[in-house]
């Protein structure tokens, strides 16, 4: 086993503060403690001032150049950045791991603002597939429509689309809230594991297919329920949460949340029994 104590070189995880002690001959690791989250600081994250504002025109930049420029501006302390002319470019605003007010004056292509942890983003336009994929914290507001896989695998934060979204919204969602003012496509909440999805309009077929956990609220018509997705009664807690959340999301004024349909996992799929595959064969 390598004895890292003799080396000055830190692993990337150590540089990020994931564990603070170097390894010795025997494995001794002190991992990141969630209780100390406030003291946690990503490698490469920046301390910015929201009152320091600037604009960036990305018309003639490709996505790498644009993202690098955003990073440079944050390193100079700019806390409010307005992006002009995004023109549907892919992967803009990804990997931002600090607080920031980021405003896009136009539409984004695929994978916009993915893997973010903390920024408040407003897109005055539309977004393509996989917007905010893997988002961990923060708030993203889309003023128009969104493509498929909206909020795929998000783990936290609020992701809001004021228009309609495509198929597989919230696929593999593991936390946070996705709130949609319009309609949603097929397979919404497919294999979601945690968190909440709120659709004020209609949803397509196979809603909540194979969901492990989490909650989906639908205001309009449902194309069909997916495997193991079942309706559950609305409670006062649900109504209170929805009322508060829609207010924060700036949509659904006067929307009667008490009439929404609540969908949860029936927990009857194969993964919820305690049988080994060989035992299952016997049971069948």
């Amino acid at each position: 086993m390598a004895n890292l104590k003799t080396s000055d070189k830190k692993t990337k995880a150590q540089s990020m503060g994931m564990h603070t002690e170097v390894l010795t001959g025997r494995t001794q690791q002190k991992f990141f403690n969630p209780d100390e989250g406030e003291n946690f600081f990503y490698f490469g994250a920046h301390d910015v001032d929201f009152n320091k504002r600037t604009e960036l025109d990305v018309k003639d930049l490709d996505c790498k150049q644009a993202n690098k420029k955003i990073d440079e501006l944050m390193s100079k302390g700019y806390g409010t950045i307005v992006i002009k002319n995004p023109q549907g470019k892919h992967s803009l605003g990804v990997g931002i791991l600090n607080k920031l007010n980021l405003i896009f004056e136009g539409s984004l292509g695929y994978f916009g603002v993915g893997s973010i942890d903390g920024p408040i983003v407003r897109v005055n336009g539309r977004v393509g597939w996989s917007c905010a994929e893997n988002m961990m914290a923060g708030k993203v507001v889309i003023e128009k429509n969104a493509g498929s896989c909206f909020g795929a695998a998000i783990r936290g934060g609020d992701l809001i689309c004021k228009g309609s979204v495509g198929a597989r919204t919230g696929i593999d969602q593991k936390g946070g809230s996705i709130i949609v003012g319009g309609d949603a496509g097929a397979f919404t909440g497919f294999m979601m594991q945690r968190g909440r999805i709120v659709i004020l309009g209609d949803v397509g077929i196979n809603l909540g297919d194979s969901m492990y956990d989490g909650t989906i609220y639908v205001g309009g018509k449902i194309g069909s329920f997916g495997s193991d997705a079942v309706e559950s009664p609305m409670t006062k807690n649900d109504i209170d949460w929805l009322t508060r959340k829609l207010k924060v999301a700036e949509i659904g004024n006067n929307f009667d949340v008490s009439k929404m349909t609540k969908i949860v996992s029936g927990k009857k799929l194969w993964n919820y029994d305690a049988l080994e595959p060989t035992e299952k064969k016997g049971a069948i």
């Binding site: 023109q87 549907g88 470019k89 892919h90 004056e105 136009g106 539409s107 292509g109 695929y110 336009g125 539309r126 393509g128 597939w129 128009k144 429509n145 969104a146 493509g147 498929s148 228009g163 309609s164 495509g166 198929a167 597989r168 309609d183 496509g185 097929a186 397979f187 397509g204 077929i205």
Partner: protein, 313 residues
């Protein structure tokens, strides 16, 4: 992956060739193997335009057999002879590449019978027949193909195109999109996706007399729709039937002399972004295709699963 793009100007002609070139070039990263155009041009409508090939482009990664160019001339002579036998008059002919030709012809026989006769010549394939359809496909990106065939100069009302990343069949012209809706004049199809019941459908359609020129699964869509239309269905009816008749994942466009349509499979597994106004409909696999001709801020949306739409010029 593949990228598809389409546009239709309602009620007027435009620089549809250069517009589609811009849209497809913006999608080059989705498919650099070959590019195809189906442009509906300002022709006088008097004669049929037949685009055909007598060989393959083997210079840019094709898997086809390299042939001496002299065999192309021989095949072309056989085509001319066959046209004469069929009573066709060649009004104008253009040799676009050593293996690709555009003929303006007068014919007065059934198109299926005509096509079968021409394609009975070995290695000759009709890419399209129509009174306004100009179907061109070749290896290379959108700009390369457009410049090779002078497509950026073509004016017309609408068109569809395809940037291909070959996955199910070879890198060659015969597997490239668009596919002509044989035996209907002015019908073309482009597709992004994979079809999983290709052989079942192909066998059934071949038994009904339909013809396949490639082993590309996407060709099935053109033949499927053509067969429905041959039996009296409208284009939109045929497209709606395709949602259950075709298995797999797909977004496809189909164009006729005066219309443009799109269909998306019931799982919405393949992307499509759409812009729609009273004057213009533009759509593509990615928004950047639309932005290449409409850089200003516009409202776009993704059609939902199982959606079929048709627009008229």
């Amino acid at each position: 992956m593949c990228g598809i793009a389409g546009l239709i100007h309602r009620g007027k002609s435009s620089d549809v060739g250069s517009e589609l070139q811009s849209m497809l070039q913006a999608l080059k990263h989705r498919g650099p193997d070959s590019t195809g155009y189906a442009l509906y041009a300002e022709n006088d409508g008097q004669n049929f335009i037949m685009r055909f090939k007598v060989g393959e482009n083997v210079g840019e990664g094709s898997t086809s057999v390299n042939e001496d160019e002299s065999v192309y001339d021989e095949r072309k002579k056989l085509v001319d002879k066959k046209l004469s036998v069929l009573g066709a008059t060649v009004v104008k002919e253009d040799k676009l590449t050593p293996y690709s030709f555009r003929y303006e012809i007068k014919i007065d026989i059934d198109l299926m019978e005509f096509s079968k006769a021409i394609e009975s010549i070995n290695n000759v394939e009709i890419l399209s027949i129509g009174k306004s359809l100009e179907l061109v496909k070749d290896l290379g990106d959108a700009t390369v193909v457009s410049e090779r065939y002078g497509l950026h100069k073509i004016k017309g009302t609408h068109g569809i195109g395809h940037a291909r990343m070959a996955t199910e069949s070879g890198v060659d012209i015969k597997s490239a999109h668009p596919f002509w809706g044989y035996p209907f004049s002015d019908v073309s199809v482009v597709h992004n996706g994979q079809l999983t019941n290709y052989w079942n459908n192909r066998r059934a359609l071949e038994n009904k007399g339909m013809r396949f020129m490639s082993e590309c699964d996407s060709e099935l869509i053109a033949v499927f729709l053509a067969e429905k239309m041959r039996n009296g269905a409208t284009l939109e009816q045929g497209m709606k039937e395709s949602l259950t008749g075709l298995d797999g994942v797909f977004t496809y466009f189909v164009a006729t002399k005066d219309s443009l349509g799109m269909a998306k499979d019931t799982m919405a597994a393949k992307p499509l972004v759409l812009y729609e106004s009273d004057e213009l409909v533009a759509m593509g696999s990615e928004e950047i295709a639309i932005r290449s001709i409409l850089p200003q801020e516009i409202d776009t949306y993704d059609p939902f699963d199982g959606e079929v739409k048709v627009w008229q010029i």
